[in-house]
Symmetry: C3
Subunit: 263 residues, 3 copies
């Protein structure tokens, strides 16, 4: 049997000592845990970005993996900390909605609890760094087999983010950019199922795109060409082959995107 | 018993092959070591930044962890390489002052040695990459249980950075910004103990801040509001809730910061 | 015996969920594999950068390490996926030339195969994310001991990048910048063997450098000084001590560099 696996997702950046401090505390509790960085580049306090990231990445992991998420603008407030089990995965995260899309995608969660029992916390808890003082030691104990039931009471309500839903409009479907990846590809909130035939028209941010190609993969078009396709997570995507659609179209998360099918 | 734990802290950045080369060399010596990245984003040659980072992060780690630090503007010169034990941790670093605050915080170190014995080095040592050619193989051997006494002689002197000390002034305390984290929060060199009551006035970089709130955590104020608080490492901190105080106040490491208590 | 070691090199960046998804899939196949990030900061689709990176970093690793490389502008096209063994290392990469310099440096490879057998792939393969759907599960199986012979047929041809070769010119040697590291140091394609005596003149990007020093290591010159030296991978390098030669000289990969020896 392998040592337990614990992943880390934060908005701390890679240059500050905060991630390192969390790793130290976790290993101090459970020296045999296997730590895995998912990202520390969630934009600061961007719960919506974290929500997309987690729903994309976590379903790929083997069962029993423990995922620790610290994107926590409400640190020090009355916001709760959640422990949840969902499709054989285990998650520890602030109750701020960052698990909403994950729960839709592989949920619903079971055994959701508020983490309240201070016996597993660091002896002195700061008001601004619960990642080090609460999440890390609790995660260390969970990875060692501590029964989640000791952490706090089962709850049946938690914060849920409203996802911007695509809607049918006269010319086709109106949605928006949900995510911009590091290549500048625009991932929309329009699921593949709604793209029942090849789009003829595309508007991004109020600007009509005169030339684009519908492709199955980037390699079908030439470098620099604007393309529309189905993304690897099953959504309408707009991309520039070997370039950045975000830069070309001045688009970012939230930019409206309309696809038209008829002529 | 778990495999030995070895952490890496460098200023190599994440895009160059230097970190990967070090990992390869360490694993070539000790294939069972567990490598853990702390950061490779120390700003180039910034010993003071490394000093702050290490003093914040290393005390959280379990005993016997071996920390390898390569922030080394003096590579190829006569600067020594130090091996030190401090509060049950083990550190391998250039002798350039980057361990100063760590030694103050959890020290003093014991068994400090100059690493001079070439038998553990790579067969060919470049003049510009001791990280790969000396630090990595020596660390690999140390992680395997090599007796540090073989590495070189005990020394009783090493380079120490002068920390800028806060001082009492007529209106209160004058200090400076010690660290700016990825959120843009300004961590000062003024310890919580010196902030005996709530500050009434704040000057940052010669500019008097007319409106700020004293809070225990960010969540007590509204997004965009300027706040002062005690940081998670016990110092006076100036922040903008869900924003960047560094950007708002044009502040960076070294920017003067004065707090006033009376009216 | 330690658990098998598997390294990851991609151009996905550290903020997108793509790397995390790959890690999840690999661990889903082989929960005991040890994952090691080399970099995810290869510039998007930059095969030449990947080629330099891999040739610098991979030779340092212990034998039997499995290296997975996903810098794959041709994803979804007819480009093949290669499995290769070279000097006791194992590599899985798109057949786009990114292994060319590695093969020159420690090759030639043996047992090169096209990865074609879909039985090890994810059940549904997207057209744009073979990293998650093909590379990751195949790597997971390889790390578990799956015989590479099952993956697909041995091939004897693969894509090779033409490396820009330095050439002798009247005044000395004409080459170019091959790599710019995170310090802004310019690594040229001119091998140390061609620099038979100290260069007297340097032209970078058509601009003659009036003042530079020939040194063995940065520490021999003063901060801010322009220097020429032999890099840690045995090439002519131009640097600014504790500064950035790339910024000072407006140089980047491909910028011409001429060294002159006579007067």
């Amino acid at each position: 049997v392998s040592d337990p696996l614990l992943t880390l997702t934060t908005d701390f950046g890679d240059a500050s000592p905060y991630v390192a401090a969390m790793k130290g505390v976790i290993l101090g509790v459970n020296p045999s845990v296997r730590l895995l960085d998912l990202t520390h580049q969630i934009p600061p306090q961007n719960i919506r970005y974290a929500d997309y990231f987690l729903a994309s990445a976590l379903p790929c992991f083997p069962s029993e993996t423990l995922h620790v998420v610290v994107v926590d603008p409400g640190v020090g407030s009355e916001r709760a900390i959640l422990y949840a089990e969902v499709a054989d995965q285990r998650v520890l995260a602030p109750d701020n909605g960052c698990l909403s899309s994950l729960f839709v995608r592989i949920g619903p969660p079971s055994a959701v609890r508020h983490v309240r029992e201070p016996r597993f916390w660091r002896s002195s808890v700061s008001a601004t760094f619960h990642g080090r003082d609460i999440f890390a030691p609790v995660a260390g104990h969970l990875s060692q087999g501590t029964d989640p039931a000791i952490l706090g009471p089962v709850v049946t309500e938690w914060v849920t983010l409203e996802s911007p839903a695509p809607r049918s409009v006269k010319v086709g479907i109106a949605g928006q950019v949900l995510f911009v990846d590091s290549f500048g590809n625009l991932i929309s909130n329009i699921p593949a199922e709604m793209v029942h035939k090849r789009p003829i028209r595309l508007r991004v941010g109020g600007r009509s795109l005169s030339r684009f190609r519908w492709v199955n993969s980037y390699a079908e078009a030439k470098p620099g060409q604007l393309v529309a396709l189905i993304s690897s997570d099953g959504r309408l995507e707009v991309a520039v082959v070997q370039g950045s659609a975000a830069r070309r179209l001045h688009a970012r998360v939230g930019t409206p995107l309309v696809v038209g099918f008829g002529k």
